[in-house]
């Protein structure tokens, strides 16, 4: 096997082929590439460090076990995020949580411009703390959708593939989640 630093130059498909050919050690390269972003997504969805680590392990075990069924219909990263999304959402469904409900009238009452202006009065770390607190008030599935779109920079079609929803449904959901975040951020700023 080649040294690890040169192997990182290869594509996901190359590693997958090597693993399928019996070179299990190649899985370490996929782990190096995806463990941190996958763990980060799961942690932000389940919001518990121990659960997130355990779920990330589950995700990579599922990835290894189902690697022969990966046919390349979507990118490997989309496929791995789909497994991570389903695993994290299933976990959150086991635990009952209550989430904030915001009325439609309130949602339509806040503009991005207003939020940008009020956020401008807070320093960078304060803005991130507020965003994190606002994310915590969203239901896990909405949190995952907005994180996939903005933080993981997935396209609407990719988010649709990951979540199993239609692209138009994702567009509507993203619109509503953005509005919710604006309301929450503005509320925090006013406090």
């Amino acid at each position: 096997m080649r040294p690890l630093d040169t192997m990182e130059l290869y594509t996901d498909t190359y590693y997958i082929q090597r693993i399928q050919a019996g070179d299990t050690a190649c899985f370490a390269c996929l782990l190096d590439k995806y463990s941190r972003p996958v763990h980060s997504l799961i942690l932000k969805v389940v919001r518990n460090r121990e659960d997130a680590e355990e779920l990330a392990q589950d995700v990579f075990m599922k990835v290894f076990q189902h690697l022969p069924s990966f046919k390349g219909e979507c990118s490997f990263s989309t496929w791995i995020y789909r497994i991570a999304y389903n695993t994290a959402i299933s976990e959150t469904r086991k635990k009952k949580h209550e989430f904030l409900a915001i009325e439609e009238a309130v949602l339509n009452n806040v503009s991005e411009q207003e939020v940008a202006e009020s956020l401008g009065r807070t320093d960078d770390s304060g803005q991130l703390q507020m965003l994190d607190a606002a994310l915590a008030q969203l239901p896990p599935d909405e949190r995952a959708i907005i994180l996939l779109f903005y933080m993981k920079e997935k396209t609407i079609d990719e988010v649709a593939t990951i979540t199993g929803l239609t692209s138009s449904n994702i567009k509507v959901k993203l619109h509503r989640i953005r509005k919710k975040l604006f309301v929450l951020l503005k509320g925090m700023e006013e406090e």
Partner: protein, 119 residues
Amino acid sequence: MTQKNDLLKELFSRMPEEELPVSFRDNMMQQIMAEAERVRKRNERWGWIAVIAASLLMIGIAIASFLYMGIPRISIQLPDMSTLPFYGYIGMLTLILLGADYKFRQLFKKRQMSRKEKM
């Protein structure tokens, strides 16, 4: 929805990714290696089962075709079977002795290895 001049895009881009525990990679690779070994053994077991099943099927077909269908058409004089229990007994004894010999050799090798390790 455009991501151009998007307030949330700018905020999320500054959001740091959480650090993973240092042991995560090693633990995960250990689990993956163990899983790969388990799958390899399972496949090997199924391979053996398939070979044994295919062999038994072929032997069965051969016996059936020879005894009941008369293929090929030859006649064999069966030998006197009165001594069969005796030869069966000798055969069993040989097998038991062979098995015991194999086990004793394994035990002997194990002891020698442990002695070498102690030295």
